[in-house]
């Protein structure tokens, strides 16, 4: 569709092929932006944790270095990273269009995540049972919130994986399904990074033994 300028030069004014947008890339980009905003929520909570992590804000209650176990945290870290590895293996299978491989990888990721949550939530329950629940002090409020915020992300991811397992069964690898699987991979790596930050900052820098 060429036209001419007054000077006589040929110009293309309309571009009929421009409508073919890459849907998957737009969706993963949008989701990546969402993760950015989510990261800021986490950042705000971590910043609060940094502020409240001192004896004044523990109001006579315990600080992290009195109840956190670095080795247990390390086990949890390996569980989270193992879960991410398992999901990554699922995406390798996705490349080959292997439904069974994707399914197995996701089931593995879910199992490791559930194990992680079991340990984490068990710790919080024990802490509460000892009279050091989230309402005990400003510090503990923030500690619980940080851990639970991460756990909620994990729980949400698990729910998402379950839905995706069904969708792979029902639809196979359609554009929609693939876009979601790729977003989910980003999400899963994101929650793992959050945990790594928590482990390093809260457990290791916090003086857990």
């Amino acid at each position: 569709m060429a036209s001419h300028t007054q000077a006589g030069a040929d110009v293309v004014l309309w571009n009929a092929s421009a409508d073919a947008h890459d849907n998957i890339s737009a969706r993963t980009y949008g989701f990546w932006l969402y993760l950015l905003s989510d990261a800021l929520i986490i950042a705000a909570v971590v910043a609060c944790y940094a502020v409240l992590d001192n004896p004044l804000n523990a109001a006579g209650g315990p600080l992290g270095n009195q109840f956190l176990s670095a080795s247990k945290g390390l086990v949890q870290t390996f569980l989270v990273l193992g879960s991410v590895l398992s999901y990554s293996l699922a995406t390798v299978a996705l490349k080959r269009g292997n439904k069974l491989g994707v399914g197995l990888g996701m089931v593995g990721a879910i199992l490791l995540a559930v194990l992680f949550l079991g340990i984490g939530m068990g710790d919080l329950a024990a802490l509460s049972a000892a009279g050091n629940g989230f309402a005990r002090s400003g510090y503990l409020s923030c500690f619980f919130t940080l851990i639970v915020t991460h756990a909620l992300h994990m729980g949400f991811g698990i729910l998402w994986m379950l839905v995706m397992l069904v969708q792979i069964g029902v639809f196979g690898f359609t554009e929609n399904v693939v876009a979601r699987l790729l977003n989910l991979r980003m999400f899963w790596q994101f929650q793992a990074s959050v945990w790594v930050v928590v482990y390093i900052y809260v457990y290791l820098f916090g003086g857990a033994h």
Partner: protein, 688 residues
């Protein structure tokens, strides 16, 4: 685990009971009557004209960015009116209650609003004006303009766009219903801490405020994601980053703020919610809480938020100044740099809102200097506008009048902002109405930008212009009112009038208060002119052509007026920053595509609306602690999202023939419009 509440609580209705309805308050009864009448008239006329189906299908279910934008703007205007009435009540109360001998009515010792009611009104005023008037108005304009300016068919995520709108509506509904069921927060729009905690504020007011903010800022975050993705991914071919129109750039900068700053508010409000609902101790006065933490978090969002509102207004002003100066914008790259710079520096100035709370000289020095630095990019913008006008062929049409006013107001607000950024000055005027006058000047810049933009882009969306004469009446009365209200306010602040008081002890303030009340009266006149302008223009409906102002420059003016739902029949190839100006210079502005190809469009859906309404139910239930209802509606939202993900939602395809047919019709319409085109004021065409 759950925090004990004052008063009765039942599993079925939570804290809700008949006592929550303020039927003893004559002011609220009156308001309710008006609202009920207006509501009945609206619903009645929809029913009478048998438009229920039309409204549901074409508007509530729409995913078209222009429709969504228009709905945002309508929401913004309605809330602007509500906020205005709040403002009138604040002002009249203060004007009556001056000095110990001032009269008291309706149970108030002085004036007619007891402190309990007065506090809610100013808290609502601030919240509504910033979050539910200015934000939707600007988001709406962005929605309408940005996809057109980048030559896209719609936003990157049309469904998400509709969800954002309905979440914002949910927040606004929450604010409105608090008038008639329960009470609103009395802890100001910023949420004073620990005053907003359960211990001093056991009612539902703070909960209303908190959830309204929470749910609508979720919508804003989603909208920011959508805007960035649209601008990054959906630009027409040929539109490199330095051909992106300046308003779109401003929206980009604003969306970056929205994406990064709003999550901080979300986090802060979540923590406050935990304090109020399950008894944590983030911001409480004892038990290891730290209320300065809240104030820091709030302003970490709050200051970027003011630029979140300001930057799009700057963008609007830039477009308009350049169009009505018949000249390309002066210093386009510096405009972009300034927008991004303001967005960046806006992140490190938050503590200037609490210099007086004791933070030590180093911090004060840093935040004071950082605040002053914002003046540099702002100044760059002001000079760029002035240089754009310099030796331009200026047309003083209504949008341009608003834009020039905005620049003057910016100067006033900016200079007083600079005064406040000097901490020594701030110590003397902090929490006085001097600050109130400062930020109202700034917010009026935004208001002027919005009115300019609504007048300017109106014909593009609706196909006819707003009445120019009444537009000018509206403009002049509005400016006069603003001068009367806010210039005396600077003086009153310097004289020591503290903000947020329902009673003024200093009788020497009376003349200033009188001037301000007169200004408020003037605002009513301007409101009348505004409504008259709408009605007259709607009745006359003089069709406008493709470029009704004659000197528009950017891509959106290239397509038909009013814009068809698919925006461009064929996506334009972009050759210059000001594409239309470029085509006009090359005699190509009338060129039409010769061939059409099928277009893929998203299909409309009622789901976003339903999700929004369920969010409203959920937050309302949370306010009243009706746990089952909150849980059920949240679950319903999650289930709906999952169910929709099983929907193939492939949209639909418009065939080339259909497009050709529609284009032919639109073309005839615009030919008719061209012929009856009325020249804008000032006369565009050179005399020969």
């Amino acid at each position: 685990m759950q925090v004990a509440v004052d008063g009765p609580w039942t599993p079925l209705l939570g804290r809700l009971s008949l006592e929550a309805i303020p039927y003893t308050n004559p002011i609220l009864i009156f308001t309710f009557a008006i609202a009920a009448i207006v509501g009945l008239v609206v619903v009645g006329s929809v029913l009478y004209f048998k438009k229920v189906g039309y409204i549901w299908r074409e508007w509530l279910c729409s995913v078209d960015h222009k429709r969504i934008g228009v709905m945002y703007i309508i929401l913004g205007l309605v809330m602007l009116f509500r906020g205005f009435i709040d403002g009138v009540m604040i002002r009249t109360q203060q004007a009556i209650a001056i000095g110990p001998n001032s009269p008291g009515y309706l149970g108030a010792a002085h004036g007619y609003l007891p402190p309990y009611h007065f506090d809610q009104i100013y808290s609502a005023h601030g919240t509504i004006m910033l979050i539910f008037a200015a934000t939707p108005l600007l988001t709406g304009l962005g929605n309408v303009i940005v996809p057109l300016q980048v030559g896209a068919r719609d936003m990157a995520f049309p469904y998400l766009n509709a969800v954002s709108l309905w979440l914002t509506v949910a927040g606004a509904l929450l604010c409105m219903i608090s008038l008639f069921v329960g009470e609103f927060s009395n802890a100001t729009w910023v949420g004073l801490m620990p005053f907003a905690e359960m211990s001093s504020n056991p009612g539902v007011g703070v909960d209303y405020w908190m959830w309204a903010l929470q749910v609508s800022s979720l919508g804003t975050t989603f909208n920011s994601i959508n805007m960035i993705a649209t601008i990054v991914k959906m630009r027409a071919p040929g539109m490199g980053w330095f051909r992106v129109p300046v308003f779109t750039w401003a929206t980009m900068a604003t969306a970056i703020i929205g994406l990064t700053a709003f999550p901080v508010l979300t986090a802060a409000l979540c923590m406050l919610g935990l304090d109020r609902y399950v008894g944590t101790h983030f911001f409480t006065a004892g038990m290891g809480g730290n209320y300065m933490l809240y104030i820091n978090l709030f302003w970490t969002w709050g200051h970027p938020e003011v630029y979140f509102l300001m930057l799009p207004a700057f963008g609007l002003i830039s477009e308009i100044v350049s169009t009505f100066s018949s000249k390309a914008l002066f210093g386009y790259p510096t405009m972009i740099a300034a927008s991004l710079g303001i967005a960046g520096v806006g992140w490190v100035v938050w503590a200037h809102h609490f210099f007086t709370m004791g933070m030590g000289p180093n911090l004060i020095g840093f935040f004071s200097a950082a605040t002053m630095i914002v003046g540099i990019p702002t100044g760059v913008k002001a000079f760029n506008w002035i240089f754009t006008m310099y030796r331009g062929r200026i047309t003083l049409a209504t949008p341009m009048l608003w834009a020039i006013t905005a620049i003057v107001l910016l100067l006033l607000g900016g200079i007083t902002g600079m005064m406040l950024s000097a901490s020594v000055v701030d110590y003397t005027v902090h929490d006085s109405v001097f600050v109130v006058a400062h930020f109202h000047c700034m917010v009026l810049v935004i208001g002027a930008g919005i009115f300019a933009a609504v007048t300017y882009w109106w014909p593009k969306v609706f196909g006819f212009k707003l009445n120019e004469t009444l537009g000018q009446w509206f403009f002049w009365t509005f400016v006069l009112a603003s001068v009367l209200v806010f210039i005396p306010m600077f003086q009153a602040g310097l004289d020591g009038e503290t903000r947020r008081l329902d009673y003024l002890f200093d009788t020497s303030l009376r003349p200033l208060m009188l001037a301000e009340v007169t200004g408020m009266g003037m605002y009513f006149v301007s409101l009348f002119c505004f409504l008259a302008m709408l009605v007259v223009s709607l009745v006359k409906r003089e069709p406008a052509g493709q470029d009704p102002w004659g000197t528009a420059r950017s891509l959106e003016w290239l397509t038909h007026t009013p814009v068809p739902f698919y925006n461009f029949a064929v996506t334009p190839q972009v050759h210059a920053l000001d594409e239309l100006a470029w085509r006009r210079a090359n005699g190509l502005e009338k060129a039409q595509p010769e061939r059409y190809v099928p277009i893929h469009m998203p299909s409309s859906s009622g789901l976003p609306f339903i999700i929004g309404m369920l969010s409203f139910v959920c937050t309302f239930a949370l306010v009243w602690r009706i746990w089952w209802l909150a849980g059920a509606s949240l679950l319903a939202v999650i289930l709906l999202v999952i169910i929709r993900s099983f929907d193939k939602n492939e949209g639909y395809v418009l065939s080339a023939d259909t497009i050709a047919e529609m284009e032919r019709k639109l073309h005839t319409v615009s030919l008719i419009a061209e012929q009856s085109k009325v020249l804008p004021v000032g006369g565009q065409v050179e005399a020969h």
